[in-house]
Amino acid sequence: MFADYSSQELLAIFAMQGFAGLILFSVFVLMALGLAIIFGQMGVINMAHGEFMILGAYVTYMLSNFFEAYLPDLFGIYFFIAMICAFIASGALGLFVEWALIRHLYKRPLDTLLATWGLSLILQQIYRSVFGAREVGVTIPDWMMGSLPLTDMIEVPINGIFVMVLAVSISIAVYLMMFRSSWGKQVRAVVQNRVMAGAVGINTEWTDRLTFGIGCGVAGVAGSAFTMIGSTGPTAGQLYIVDTFLVVVFGGAASLLGTIASAFSISQAQSIMEFFLSGSMAKVLTLLTVVGILMIRPQGLFALKLRK
């Protein structure tokens, strides 16, 4: 396969392929972080995760139209504002959903799956009624499209770099929130022992609501970022759901580090296989490997061994 190419060319291709793997990794991290908070920390199986992401994407779409029409001078930076708005919108919807739906179901994790599936259908229909059944085109500022030539042969996509930077910064932010803030301590306390946490004066209700809201908010940011690389339509959220859950479960549900490690291994495996095999087979093999490993090691990559 490589006989006809100079070593320089090959090197360039491999460098870019490595970069493609990293982009995929960042995409997975962004998709999975919100769910890792919601599913990993709270045990809620949020099947509407994709729809929360798409809400972020639609917010970005609306803002891009708004800036194009009213503030064309600031169009270059609207994306950052859009991400913040996406966080707020998805987060607010998350708070509402927690209040209306999820809080009644903490003792029945499998039922959250059904209820949130219903929620996802409703959201899809709302998107369809409001924005139309067709995909909408989100205009991205020019500086974010295109590529950055590193050497003569190696070019890296700017939106890829953007996604990577975003993934890293959100990961750090989530890490700081979970492990360095008092809110994080409360979340972890509630996760470990709800009754006890309530007894020592933690407002468990609000902790839950906020955790869910922040998880959804992060999903919204991810959705906003994905307008650069993917499509925005009423049903686009469903495309992400299997991958997202597998990443979180494969990582060991309760471990944020595990989520990142699993995003890394799955993305690398997939991107390497995609390069050497055809696309569909690569996907099947990746999923099979993940399922196979999960059968051997059901607790995922990173799981705490606990005394029962």
């Binding site: 970069f19 995909e135 499209m145 295109g146 590529s147 690389i229 469903q238």
Partner: protein, 426 residues
Amino acid sequence: MSDQDFPNGKKDARAAGLSRRSVLLGGTALTASLFAPSFGNAQSFPTAEINTTGLAVTDDTVTIGILHSITGTMAISETGSVQAEKLAIDQINAMGGILGRKIEYIQEDGASDWPTFAEKAKKLLVNDKVASVMGCWTSASRKAVLPVFEQYNGFLYYPTFYEGLEQSPNVIYTGQEATQQIIAGIDWVTKTKGAKSFYLLGSDYIWPRTSNKIARKHIEKLGLKVVGEEYYPLGHTQFNSVINKIRLKKPDVIYAIVVGGSNVAFYKQLKAAGIDMTKEKPLLLTISVTEDEIRGIGGENIEGAYACMKYFQSLQNDNNLAFVKAFKEMWGEDMVIGDVTQAAYLGPWLWKAAVEKAGSFDVDKVRAASPGIELTTAPEGYVKVHENHHLWSKTRVGRAKADGQYEVVFETADLVEPDPFPEGYQ
């Protein structure tokens, strides 16, 4: 799908040699025109005579079905078809309807679910007794309803360009079959752009696979090279790996048949990876991106790509200008019209012409009357129904512009003959 119903289209090949003008002259008697008054009124066609099989025809109305997905993943694509069909029905009614009868329609939702399509098709035919159905979009939905239409002898107008390999007595295919769409495009890109090597890419299902198969055969016949062929699952959104492979193989042409949400991801990532399609190195040729899809992709992300199909919204002929104007008046200024939408618009008109030629709504008579039906008022220009129930049509190549429209850069001199079972391409 048997041979005796349909003499092989090849026998009629001499017609391919006719220029548009000569066909026009020969066909005026049968031509239905948008501007000509509809002939006849209800009194001159007693219901009992024009409807001997119990269809939903009254003294002043005739009911047809519209069967598309309004919900589910396919709603994105099928909305345009529904709009075009409703527009055509309105216009026909404004001209006095068919045989003096106004068209009423019953719309059913296929919900992007194939058994639902079959179920609804059966409902339309058995319960509602509709005289014909405009509907379906994906091949899977058509395959699902096909046995129903054949069993209950319904009549379907199917608008989508598709893989061919089918020819049912109960379907008129108003979109192009694969060879019509593909061969002209590849010939054009080799002749005018000097392309020597191709990278074939598609979503993983029957249409892209069959189309690429035809493309590959034709490319190899021309003595050129296919350097890669690849398929990704429907809904796949990560194309960086395949973009790297394309860089490695350095093809002259990327031949892309990616569909749905994958489309958007593919073109955005292609652009972001620094492959500037306006430089045409490599050139991108697609048969799956209509103006509808560009709305989701964003014109700036696909600028410079070439698409090969039979209709573009930017066609500058009187029929099309009137059609685009009427469509926008009915559905809004910001509407765009793609190839399939136009093909869907042809459905009611072709049916009207066939019914009037047959002087009856009976499906058997309409079927018998259908081959040879011509439409001079089609937005795409002149079309004619082939004996194999597909349309003779021109194939065009358009170059995508940043505003989301195509600039037509090539069109075949003659109508291209439909050939759903192409010998030598299977």
